[in-house]
Symmetry: C2
């Protein structure tokens, strides 16, 4: 089994290519792929900081570091939840909202460009298999009986 | 377009799940996913260090750091190419060979486990689409005319 022919290698390669493209496109807006990704996951009504990690599959430490970066760049701020003062919500500043819109447009453009070049029937199988792989990895202990 | 429904989000999520699983499995062998991945790309006859980055899609700086780690753990060593003394090749130590074999078995097991659960016909479409996406990202400037 050559590395190039494995499922994991191909998924890794695809993801790295996409991340590289997003990082390149983000440069002119002082954004990285990871920053844009977090901005896209913050809602207009603010998002509880405890929801962000699980929503994005990010480790708590990486998320904390990322939120500090976004705060220092003036893209987000923290405020107590209006209904539950013990809970902290992350909000977008005006600048953060503009950067979020840029990130959103980039993601939409990318997905449309791919969608135009690959027939729906194949894309549907692709999504189905990708989600199946993810759930095999996450839910089953495939190495238990092996 | 919700993030969860985009191509990039789903590829990222799948890759992160796989990387997490590999990191967890590697722990008991003092290996990370990234270390195992590099070991798998070093041939028995040694691999020129200049070939490794492009082969794995790794940035030169990350690769340099990684090779230093592998060297300090006694898994690889550097030696001049027997035919071209100006060229440096990376070789596996005996310990490196054992860790490479562990990484190889893990990758094979993972791929077999997925292969058993998903029909070939769907996996073939999956690979086709994944490679198409990667080549769209790498070869075309999809944002040029947009």
């Amino acid at each position: 089994m050559k590395p190039e022919s494995t499922i994991d290698f191909n998924i890794r390669w695809a993801w790295h290519s996409i991340a590289k493209l997003y990082n390149k496109l983000g440069q002119q807006h002082d954004l990285t792929m990871a920053m844009g990704f977090v901005l896209l996951n913050i809602d207009k009504e603010g998002t509880p900081s405890t929801h962000l990690g699980p929503k994005m599959g990010m480790e708590p430490r990486s998320l904390t570091r990322m939120l500090k970066t976004l705060e220092s760049k003036g893209l987000i701020y923290r405020a107590p939840d209006p209904n539950d003062g013990r809970m902290v919500r992350i909000f977008l500043t005006d600048l953060g909202k503009r950067k979020r819109a840029i990130s959103r447009d980039t993601v939409i453009q990318f997905n449309q460009a791919v969608g135009k070049r690959i027939p729906d029937s194949k894309l549907n199988v692709f999504f189905e298999v990708l989600q199946q792989i993810t759930s095999i990895v996450e839910q089953e202990n495939i190495f238990k009986t092996a």
